[in-house]
Amino acid sequence: MTLPIASGPAGNGLRWKPGLSRQLDYSWYVIRRNPVTLLGFVVVTLFVAVGLLAPLIARRDPIEVAPAFALQSPCRQFWFGTDQYGRDVFSRIVHSARLDLFIALTSVGLAFAIGTAIGALAGYYGGALDATLMRLTDIVLAFPPFILAMGTAAALGAGTANIIYVVAFIQAPIYARLVRGEILSARERPYAEAARCSGNSGLGVVFIHLLPNCLPPLLVQVANNLSWAILNAAGLSFIGLGVRPPTPEWGSMISEGVQFMMSGRWWLFMFPGLAIFVTILGFNLLADGLRDVFDPRLRW
C-alpha cells in the first residue's frame, strides 16, 4: 500500500536549488541590497586581490634602494613618491597588503581554532573544566588588548611569526566566550539529545552537531577580528615590535615616515595611513552586513 503524501514539495512547481548555491545567492542578495555592505565587500575584495596579486600590480622591488630617486614626491613614475632610500612607496604599500593579509588570516585562523575548541569543550562539558578554561580566558581578557600585545611581543621578540602568535593569543579568548555561550544554548536543543541518542560520543555531538550551528555569529566576529589583526600588526610594527625593516609594513612605514613630517614629505606617512584606514573600514562595514546575512529573522 502506498500512503498518500501529506504535504511535500514534489510537484509544487518550486525550482529546487542545492544548499550551497542557495546560500550564496542569499548572501549576494543581502550584500547587494545594502550599498554600505556592498562598499565594504568591494574594499575587502580589493584588499584581498591586491594582496594576492601584489608582485603583478607593483613591478618595482619594494626593498630595492635607489639613492638617486630619494624623497621624490608623487609623480607619474612613482605614484606615491619615494622614501629616503629611493624605494617606491606604492610598491611598498602593495606588498605590505600581501603581508598584512597573510598575518590577518593566519592569526585569526589560529585564534578561531584554539578559541572555538576551548569554548566548545567548556560549554558542553561544564563543571570544573568550564570553570578552569573560562577563568584562564578571563585572565587574558582582563588586560587591555594592545598593552598585552605589546608585552607579549616584547617578550617574544620582533618578527612576523611572533606577531601572528601574539594576535592569536589576544583574540582566542573572544572566540572562547562566544562559542561557550552558543554551545550552552545549543546543547539544550532537541537535536543535541537526538544526536546523543543515536550513539554520538560527547566530542561527536559537540564538533559535528553543535558547532556548525554556532557558526553564524562567529563569522561576524571573524570579519571584525580580521580588521583588528591588521590594526594590531600595524600598531606593533609602528612601535618597532612587529615586522622588521626593511620588509614593508604599513605601521612601520608610518613610523619611518613621521620623521619627515616637518619637512612636508606627507606622502611617506599619508598613503600607508590611508591604506590602513580604508582596509579597516571595509572590514567593519562588511562585518555589519554579514550580521544581516546570518540573522535568521531575515531568512526566507
Binding site: S7, R189, Y191, E193, R196, G199, G204
Partner: protein, 324 residues
C-alpha cells in the same frame, strides 16, 4: 520467550536543591521481540524519563538510583559509555521524538544525517551509506527520495521530517525502537499515516516498538500490549483489548472514561483532582486522593504490581480485594 528488554525495579530520581523528584519509582516492564507496546500516562508520569533511562541519557541532576535494565541479555546500566555508544544507542535501540523538525540538525541535510548514523554504526563507504539512506527513505514512503536527501529539515514538512527520523531510526536494523510521543506534534491525517507506516514496518522488519504517548487512541490503534503509568509507577499492564474492555485499575478506567466518545451522548468525564506534586507524593497509593474506590489501606500502604492471570498485571488494593 525471553523478553528483549526487561526493566526491573528501575528508579530514576532528580536531585533538586530542596527536593527529590522521584520521576521513575520502581518500574517493572518488559518488551518482547517484535512486539508493539504502548506506554501511556499523563504529562509528568515518568514515561520519557523511563525511555531516557534505558538509553542512559539522564542528565544531572537526574540519576538512575537502582534497578536493572536487561537488554538482549546484558545489563545496560553496567555497560561503559563507549559500549553504549557503539552497540546500543542508535544501533540496537533507537529513538523517535516529538517535534521531528527540531530533532533534526538544522545545518545538515536530511540525507547526510541518515547516512551518518549508518556509517557510524555499520561502517561502509559514503556511497554505500548514501544508497542505503535512499533505500530507507523509499521504505518510509517518501516520494522523490533523491531530492529529499539533499534538503535541510526546514525545507521539509513535519510529516516528512518524522519519516526522515523513522528512516534514521531503522537504518541500522535495531531490535527496539522507542517512539516518544512520535505523533503528538502532527495533525491527525499525518498521524494516521505515520502510525500505519510504523505498523507496516513492524510487520516487515520485526522490530519491537515501545510507544510512549498520552493518546489512548494511538495505543488502541497500534499496540499489542499497553502499560499504564502514574506518578512514576506502572499501575496496570495487559493486552490492549483486554485492558480497554475491562480495566482493573481505577486510574485506567478513569482515563478511558475521559476520552470523548462520539457514539454515546455523554460528555467525557475528567478525573477529579490533580496529578500529585512529584516532589511531595502522597503516602500509600499515589492515586488515592483522586480515587473513588479508595479504602483505608490505600492511604498507608503502596500497592505493588501483581499478576492477574495471563499478561495482566495491576497495582491496586481495591482491585485485588474485589477479586478475593
Amino acid at each position: 520467550m525471553e523478553p528483549l528488554l526487561d526493566i526491573r525495579g528501575l528508579r530514576t530520581y532528580f536531585f533538586l536543591r530542596h527536593a527529590v523528584v522521584k520521576a521513575v519509582n520502581d518500574v517493572h516492564l518488559s518488551v518482547f521481540p517484535g512486539e508493539m507496546v504502548g506506554l501511556v500516562g499523563e504529562t509528568g508520569s515518568g514515561k520519557s524519563v523511563t525511555a531516557l533511562s534505558v538509553l542512559r541519557l539522564i542528565q544531572p541532576p537526574g540519576r538512575v538510583i537502582s534497578g536493572e535494565i536487561i537488554f538482549q541479555g546484558r545489563n545496560l546500566l553496567a555497560l561503559s559509555e563507549a559500549e553504549m555508544n557503539n552497540s546500543v544507542r542508535g544501533r540496537a535501540i533507537t529513538m523517535i521524538f516529538q517535534n521531528p523538525r527540531s530533532c533534526l540538525n538544522p545545518v545538515l541535510t536530511a540525507g547526510t544525517q541518515i547516512a551518518r548514523v549508518y556509517q557510524t554504526h555499520c561502517g561502509g563507504t559514503t556511497r554505500q551509506a548514501r544508497e542505503r539512506a535512499l533505500e530507507f527513505l523509499r521504505l518510509v514512503q517518501i516520494p522523490d527520495p533523491e531530492s529529499v536527501f539533499n534538503r535541510y529539515p526546514h525545507q521539509l514538512s513535519g510529516g516528512m521530517c518524522q519519516r526522515v527520523m523513522i528512516a534514521m531510526a531503522l537504518i541500522c536494523e535495531p531490535a527496539l525502537v522507542i517512539a516518544d510521543e512520535a505523533t503528538t506534534g502532527l495533525d491527525v491525517t499525518v498521524q494516521d499515516q505515520i502510525l500505519t507506516l510504523m505498523r507496516e514496518l513492524r510487520n516487515k522488519t520485526h522490530t519491537a516498538q515501545l510507544f510512549i504517548t498520552h493518546d489512548l487512541g494511538v495505543v488502541a490503534e497500534t499496540c499489542d500490549r499497553v502499560l499504564v503509568m502514574y506518578s512514576g509507577r506502572i499501575v496496570e499492564a495487559g493486552a490492549v483489548n483486554e485492558v480497554y474492555a475491562r480495566p482493573l485499575h481505577p486510574y485506567t478506567s478513569a482515563l478511558l472514561n475521559s476520552v470523548p466518545d462520539l457514539r454515546k451522548d455523554s460528555r467525557p468525564r475528567s478525573i477529579p483532582g490533580e496529578v500529585p506534586d512529584p516532589r511531595n507524593l502522597p503516602p500509600g497509593c499515589p492515586f488515592h486522593p483522586r480515587c473513588d474506590r479508595c479504602t483505608d489501606i490505600c492511604r498507608v500502604q503502596e500497592p505493588i504490581l501483581v499478576s492477574r492471570g495471563g499478561s495482566r498485571q495491576v497495582a491496586c488494593h481495591a482491585s485485588v480485594q474485589t477479586e478475593e
